[in-house]
């Protein structure tokens, strides 16, 4: 018996959210006295597969001929390996969301998503999860012996275990029920769901031409960029940057909100951030009630100063 992790890869590499899922499973495995087994699809080098051991995976089943876009086949493979597993762990990414519910239905194993708590005892597993767009935390109990768990990205620490991960390569092929005819990948950009720092701007920036300084600030912080809903609605920024209740929910370590008023629907998607900074000309802006740090001032003056100060911090 083992705990299963879906080890998602991006173009042959694992990302932090995958390692978070492995660490999370390893933590449970110490309570349950079981091993962690990863399952991964797509073409991934042996060297990369071995990295799953660093965070506690004892073995990995690799399926180089299966595409992660083929959610149906990935779910079937996971089911085959998970027949006797108590938990199947995912990180709550878009890809996981097209696989995990299928696994839950196939195994008739309860699914709990957006998890933010660790397994505490094994008798009656209860997990805490974000719900109501982070306005509430819900405790959910499994009624089944097996559970499909999807953990909130950037909510759990990585812990190194340095195990030697045993690799099995499976040459299975399947037929997808979807025909993928193309992909547009945002090259080089940090994905919002995983970013540790997010620089976000709103209508206070006045126009799309003023985003240079936002991108520069994001660049020096190694941050992803985001925006409020009206900004993506008017087309100043792409929809993929829209955060909030009807956009993406994010939980970075640091969220810097520039020229964003702090409407309840915006805050709903960002208030799981660990630290929030608001920069706004209006001292009454609601964002100051939610933020940890606030600067009342004009973004066009404050942001360039902030860039300079961070540069000098980096140079010292």
């Amino acid at each position: 018996m083992s705990i299963i992790v879906y080890a998602e890869s991006w173009e042959g590499k694992f990302r932090k959210s995958t390692y978070e899922a492995v660490s999370y499973a390893k933590n449970m495995s110490e309570i349950l006295q079981q091993e962690v087994k990863s399952i991964t699809v797509g073409d991934i080098s042996e060297e990369e597969l071995k990295k799953l051991g660093i965070y506690g995976s004892s073995s990995v089943e690799s399926y180089p001929n299966i595409s992660k876009s083929d959610g149906k086949s990935v779910a079937e493979i996971i089911k085959e390996h998970a027949q006797n597993s108590k938990f199947i762990v995912f990180s709550n990414t878009f890809n996981a969301k097209s696989i995990a519910p299928r696994v839950s239905a196939k195994l008739k194993a309860g699914i709990i998503t957006n998890i933010i708590s660790n397994l505490e005892n094994n008798n009656e597993p209860v997990f805490k999860r974000q719900s109501f767009s982070s306005k509430a935390i819900e405790a959910v109990k499994l009624n089944t012996n097996q559970g499909v768990l999807s953990i909130a990205p950037n909510s759990f620490e990585l812990s190194e275990k340095q195990l030697d991960c045993k690799i099995s390569v499976n040459q299975k092929t399947t037929e997808s029920d979807l025909n993928i005819i193309g992909k547009d990948i945002n090259k080089g950009k940090i994905s919002l769901s995983e970013a540790e720092v997010i620089v976000s701007a709103g209508r206070g920036l006045k126009g799309p031409e003023n985003w240079n300084m936002i991108e520069e600030l994001a660049d020096i912080l190694g941050a992803a960029t985001a925006c409020s809903k009206p900004v993506s609605d008017i087309g100043w920024r792409p929809h993929s940057e829209h955060v909030g209740q009807t956009g993406k929910a994010v939980a970075p370590n640091l969220y810097i909100a520039i020229g964003i008023s702090g409407a309840i629907q915006h805050l709903a998607g960002v208030n799981s951030s660990k630290v929030m900074v608001a920069i706004n000309t209006d001292p009454e802006a609601p964002f100051f009630k939610a933020a940890d740090y606030g600067v009342v001032g004009d973004a066009f003056e404050v942001v360039p100063k902030l860039i300079e100060e961070i540069k000098s911090l980096r140079n010292n």
Partner: protein, 248 residues
């Protein structure tokens, strides 16, 4: 073409979220319920498809009688028929099961759900339905065009967009991009009048197996007060973020 739009009824986005019965139940007192925003994009898309291709649109909600106003609203926006499956959802599985059961006994080509409900944020119901019915599932779908039996779709993936071709029947988890915000339909007087005469069928539910159980709620810890920093002393902000908060 027969389109089914699955709609969940959720608190309006401005609602204050509170709980009753010793923090075990959502307090719906004074809360206005609306069509889940992601489902609203899907419903409008269905209305456009109907205008272009003579489709028929059924909207469906699993819920008690209190969800009927949102079904009436969906009829006023342009759906032809509404179905309420009489069951108060207890988890994603039991909800998906009721919907899949209904789909099995009908003939739908395109099943439109939302990428998640804005209340419990699970995003699990459509994927489960796909598995129960063995049909393709396109999550986070932000574009759909129809050419005969062929569908071209786009979906959001982590860090990009994927273009997909497939055949009906399928189920999607929709979001913005299916239609734009500015295209969302608001019911007009004529729509509201005709909605009154459109059928709203109530179906009894069967088998209520729940795989999970919600046991309690809490509010996230309140933030401490905001530390204000002078706009002429941005160095202090950087020092705080670096030395105190340790986030840069």
């Amino acid at each position: 073409m027969n389109i089914l739009v699955c709609i969940s009824s959720v608190p309006d986005t401005t609602s204050k979220i509170n709980f009753t019965d010793n923090n075990t139940k959502f307090d719906s007192n004074g809360v206005q319920f609306v069509i889940n925003p992601y489902d609203e994009f899907g419903l409008t898309k269905a209305v456009f498809l109907k205008e272009e291709n003579q489709a028929s649109i059924t909207v469906l909600t699993v819920g008690d009688p209190s969800v009927e106003p949102i079904l009436r609203k969906a009829l006023a926006i342009g759906a032809d028929k509404a179905i309420r499956i009489n069951y108060s959802p207890t988890d994603s599985y039991s909800t998906a099961y009721q919907i899949a059961n209904h789909i099995n006994s009908s003939e739908y080509d395109l099943i439109i759900a939302g990428k998640e409900s804005s209340d419990y944020n699970n995003g699990a119901v459509p994927g489960m339905i796909a598995d129960m019915l063995e049909i393709p599932f396109i999550n986070a779908c932000n574009g759909l065009t129809l050419e005969g039996n062929n569908l071209k779709l786009t979906r959001e993936i982590d860090g990009g967009i994927e273009n997909i071709q497939t055949k009906t029947p399928i189920i999607i988890g929709g979001q913005k991009g299916l239609v734009e915000e500015s295209e969302l339909k608001i019911p007009n007087m004529r729509g509201i009048m005709t909605a009154r005469t459109k059928p709203l069928e109530v179906i009894e539910s069967s088998d209520h197996t729940s795989l999970t159980e919600s046991i309690s709620f809490e509010k996230p810890a309140a933030k401490g007060s905001c530390k204000m920093i002078d706009e002429n002393n941005i160095n202090e902000l950087v020092q705080e973020l670096h030395n105190v908060a340790k986030v840069i």
